[in-house]
Symmetry: C2
Subunit: 193 residues, 2 copies
DNA sequence: CTTCATTTGGAATGAATATTCCAAATTATT
DNA sequence: AATAATTTGGAATATTCATTCCAAATGAAG
């Protein structure tokens, strides 16, 4: 009976989160997204609600994709420290290989919207606690394997690592090159001993 | 002959940089600033040019104020490590005492505008290199005093410390409380040994 | 007090922008 | 092929916003 949708929800969210990442929430117009996504205004409004609702959905989509990547990382390697190293390596490579990608949607959202939009803040906080939870597991595993010997509570180190991750995204937009980012990661990881 | 200005340039830039910090560049209207600053549209345009020019001037003003504070810190204590500790303490206190202050204008600008505006990028890069220069001096002094024993080049540590500073501004907008931020700083400083 | 270079307030303009709306197009089913 | 549920394109609307402009206000100097 009904005509089928010509687009996939996730495909649009992928595009929207990309545009929002480049230009921020207030810097992107609905038209900007339509132009790239190639679907009609009415379809967009019908499927995603208004611009703000689309933004929140884009954040959630982006967060889930990010966490999926972490999940894949989690299954690949048995070794806790290795997982942590791989994560930083992946972030580093992404930042270095996509110099015009404008960092990370969630970091940008934290800077632009966190204090103005409760839902944005929620996604950001959820992402933080989910990532830190995984980091905590990996750290505990690494400690058990005697790969590292932590002098302070594991949770503290997970905050520390997450902080470094946030910093890297800002640094990559402040003129730091890959070599510099790499050296920051090296020092961060050496602090685990 | 001419009527004197009723406002001070720096006073307006103080207000403008504050509004831009809260709402971002695209999120603030010229009216938002006028309302808080209490001067007329024509005066603003006459003295500062258009909105974008005002934004860049606000960034520069903010950067200079920040660096002045660093300068004061620099004269207060003779001891390199103490200066570094005081800097982190000051940042920590500011973030904790101003939970609605939306972090740091320069970090927010890096996230929102760095890739879209060359001048914004310049101010951000200048701030980075100026701060890192000071950090390098302090680190060298601390090393000379045998307060710390660095295993890698000093410059690497200055990048690392600056990265932590950037991270803290993002973390404070991602649900981290003062205790958590403090623990990140503690781990960062302990990495200097 | 008068003059006049300059600032000021706020109305006016024009361009973007978010959102709504409906006639036309589409396609799975009959 | 005809039907009908649903999507689609794009015009229409209303709002916000940056910027311009000029008459009125200001106050230092003569």
């Amino acid at each position: 009976m009904p005509k089928n949708k010509k687009f996939k929800r996730e495909h649009i969210l992928e595009i929207a989160s990309n545009v929002f990442k480049q230009k921020g929430y207030n810097g992107t117009s609905v038209d900007d997204i339509l132009k790239v996504a190639g679907l009609s205004r009415s379809s967009l409004y019908d499927s995603f609600g208004d611009k703000h609702s689309l933004y929140v959905q884009s954040l959630e989509y982006y967060k889930n994709i990010d966490n999926e990547k972490l999940g894949i990382l989690n299954t690949n390697e048995a070794n806790g420290l290795k997982k942590i190293e791989k994560l930083f390596e992946a972030v580093l490579n992404h930042l270095a290989e996509n110099p015009n990608d404008n960092g990370c949607l969630l970091v940008n959202a934290a800077a632009e919207m966190s204090k103005q939009c409760f839902k944005t803040n929620q996604v950001i906080c959820n992402n933080k606690s989910e990532t830190e939870k995984l980091l905590t597991e990996w750290l505990e595993n690494a400690q058990k394997n005697k790969e590292i010997s932590l002098k302070k509570p594991v949770k503290q180190y997970s905050h520390f690592l997450y902080n470094t991750l946030c910093g890297l995204r800002v640094m990559s937009q402040s003129g730091a090159d890959k070599k510099e980012l790499k050296s920051i990661v090296d020092l961060t990881l050496s602090a685990l001993n």
